[in-house]
Amino acid sequence: MTQHSLRKLLCITIAGLLYSCSPQRADTDVIRVRWSHDPETLDPFQFSNQASLDAVNLLHLGLLEVDLTRLKYAPVLAESLPTTHLIGDSLTELRYTLRAAAAWDNGCPVLASDVAFTLKLMFCPDLPNEAARARFGFIEDITTTATAPRRFTLVCRGQSLEYLVASGDFPILSEAAIDPRGQLRRYSLRALQRRPVTAPADTVLLDVARRYRAASPDQLPGLLPGCGPYELVAWERDRYLTLRRKTNWWPDAQLQPVPAVLQALPKQLEYVIIPDAATATLALRRGDLDVYPQMPAREYARLQTSPSTSNPLRLYSSLSYSVVMAGFNTRQPVLADALTRQALSHCFDAAGLLEATQMGAGTRTVGILSPANRINYNDSLALIPFDLKRAAALLRQAGWQRGPEADAGWVRAVANRPRQQLALRVRYRAEETLFATVALQFQAAAAKIGVPVTLLPTESGTFSSSVHTGDFDVYVRMLNGNPFMFNFTPIFHSEAIGAGNTTGFDTPASDHLIEAITTAETEQRRAHLLRRFQALMQREMPVVPLFFLPNRVAASSSLTGLQVSSLKPGYAVKTLVRAPQPSPAP
């Protein structure tokens, strides 16, 4: 090889290296969003973590959907909000009409039979639909007519303000994709709901369940097509999830003008999994990310004080309905009584944690309802103080006794049972510094009164399964709420134990109150019941609500149309557009 060709090869190599090291030009069609962890599942019936909900809402559509900017439900597949008819004093009929334009990807219209099929699937045995059962159990029946295939009536148990919107907030699935022969049509929704768990196996139902599971909606939603604006292109666990805008999505051609909730502007959405907050901030600064939602306080403050030069950013902040809380496993004998739980609640320094982790932003609360919700928030209740003396006194009141030595723990004698020792395991998501700080503070405070606490930082997926199987004593997590629906059945009702009721808490009084809230007929009545519910929860203390987080979003300034919302995920992803880049001067 001559010297000339060697030099040439060297130049090409250097040029190649320089090109590969230079930052890549952002693809204008792709919007990149940070997720801290993968969706647990893409199954539309499992309302697991926020990432799952975000993805499912882009793949599927419901009858109604929240307009994030106006904080109101708006019709999506439905033509309008349903009309309500009260039947006697115990039933409500909600009459819906589907949009004539609403269609599946193959052009077939979305019909009332699809809605009926979806509701029946929620109560089909042998499917992971416990959360959906608890949430939509109030819909007792659905009536359709052959002459008007887009019209249907939902018959709901009781009468409630919330039915108007709650009855339409679930993704509609295609009957043709799972049950092309219409096998589920021979069962009424009521019959499926009333089917006892111990009933003998029904081959038809098992067959439908098998076909649903075979479609792997949790992993490959391509086999279970939704009528949402996006389709899944790729999902590499721990790396990214990519969704592509459908070119033949039905509103594009059929609706003019397109309603705000049916707008889907980004051509491709790439959710990048970056567990570490500082790494995500770095990626945002470098321009590898466009949107960083739910940003931690210190990262947000750092961006405020030292703006990015390579990727100018816009920072947004608003209220949120996400509350940080600790939950007690009431199924554990040591935590079965309210006095012990009350005592331990005094070991959380909510004010200090709010200051330390949120730099003072955020709001302390007496319950899981936001103080911003002035009508329903029970402001007559006192915030739980950080008071270790009171904690120790309450433990004694609960029957616990402490040995004379300084490091002696608490023990309690229970009739006909082994002596109980108060020692706790606290589980939280490992990658969340906020939860780690809460757990550490609780551990240090509990140690001061002689309660040993073991910390169990747990990987995201394992955390969910551990919490659902009751493998914890105390957990620290976030609960997302909203200002218009107060159905606590999926998280605190005895029906939901083993599903969403992770604390295992149930009392006849709380069940009764939860049912009364969901069926309250007037806002005043509901507010009254909600206030009573908050008082009851503070007395029983299955969870310790610490504070409501602020919603912080950082986004590249090259994006337009970013609308921040106090509801999760904290911004409207479907309205994002990348502003055209100025072409370089000639």
Partner: protein
């Protein structure tokens, strides 16, 4: 190189010994030292505070409000209590395995009943498929041993490939990078302090085993060993009382290096968040907090300095011992 003069070497040895002595002393006295804050108690009013800015936090606080000085002190305790026993245990295990492999090689034989007995008990203890089968085999072995014992017959025997097993196991462990091996094992089993101790020991014995085996190959041919064997002393006694003490010489040099390696490994694991429990103070875990608060340099620099100085000191000590050994007749 003026820096490498004998005087400097002497001073560096003394400094190394002094630093390591301080670390060990601090580790031993950590619970009774008058520290302003315990290591796991977050000071929520002082999150990520720089050194000397908050009362009592002389070296600042980490992003969770924990006192950096306290974590350094208790981190030293964790380092000493974890790495020193692990290094000693690995040395003992390696010395026994390597010494036996070097002394007996593949030549020694074991009677078949004992093979059956050992194999059966091992099968049962490891709960391999059908554990009862292990007990049956062990019972057969025991029966054969008793039968042959009563009849005073000579047992048939099979050779024990001791050298091949030890060298093979050591080579196998050496082929997998230690960090990868420990991470994989930790991920599979979860880690507690005793668990991590076992993990570090089990992955650290090959080096001492190789060193002792090599030395034993030389020692077993020395006249005093041959004399002891000729005098009719049992092979086990010759091995334990006469050969092994002379074969342990290389461990004097390798032990500080082993501790340094383990110190680095423990810190790496804690930095990656797969080592110790979050409430166990560790230099590596403290360094990892820089990811949450990149401006908190003090949470990285102080533990990194402790780690670097400790590892340099241990290396220096090892070099000093190697030099001493060269001077031995």
């Amino acid at each position: 190189m003026a820096l490498l003069t004998p005087a400097f070497r002497r001073w560096s040895q003394w400094l190394a010994v002094l630093w390591l002595g301080v670390v060990v002393l601090v580790a031993a006295l950590a619970p009774v030292l008058p520290l302003p804050y315990p290591p796991n108690s977050p000071d929520l009013a002082n999150i990520a505070t720089p050194p000397l800015e908050a009362v009592g936090h002389w070296l600042g606080t980490d992003p969770q409000g924990r006192d950096v000085l306290s974590i350094l002190v208790f981190g030293a305790r964790t380092a000493v209590l974890l790495t020193l026993p692990a290094a000693v245990l690995a040395a003992v295990l390696g010395a026994l395995a390597g010494g036996a492999a070097g002394f007996w090689g593949n030549a020694t034989r074991l009677a078949v009943p004992y093979w059956l007995l050992g194999g059966g008990v091992g099968w049962w203890a490891l709960q391999l498929p059908v554990p009862l089968l292990g007990l049956v085999v062990a019972a057969v072995g025991l029966g054969m041993a008793l039968l042959f014992g009563v009849r005073k017959q000579r047992f048939p025997s099979w050779p024990i490939p001791l050298n091949a097993v030890v060298v093979g196991a050591a080579t196998t462990l050496d082929t997998v990078p230690r960090l990868v091996l420990v991470v994989a094992m930790a991920a599979g089993t979860g880690v507690s302090i005793p668990g991590l101790l076992v993990l570090l020991t089990l992955t650290s014995w090959p080096l001492p085993a190789r060193l002792v085996r090599a030395q034993m190959l030389r020692v077993r041919t020395l006249p005093f060993v041959e004399a002891a064997q000729a005098a009719g002393i049992s092979p086990q006694r010759v091995w334990m009382r006469h050969a092994l003490p002379h074969a342990l010489q290389p461990l004097r040099t390798s032990l500080p290096l082993s501790v340094a390696g383990l110190l680095g490994l423990e810190s790496t694991l804690s930095f990656l968040g797969i080592g110790l429990a979050p409430d166990v103070a560790s230099w590596g875990r403290l360094m990892a907090t820089i990811r949450n608060e990149p401006s908190a340099w003090w949470a990285f620099v102080f533990p990194a300095l402790c780690l670097i100085i400790s590892i340099i000191s241990l290396n220096s000590l090892s070099r000093h011992r190697a030099a001493q050994e060269k001077l031995l007749p």
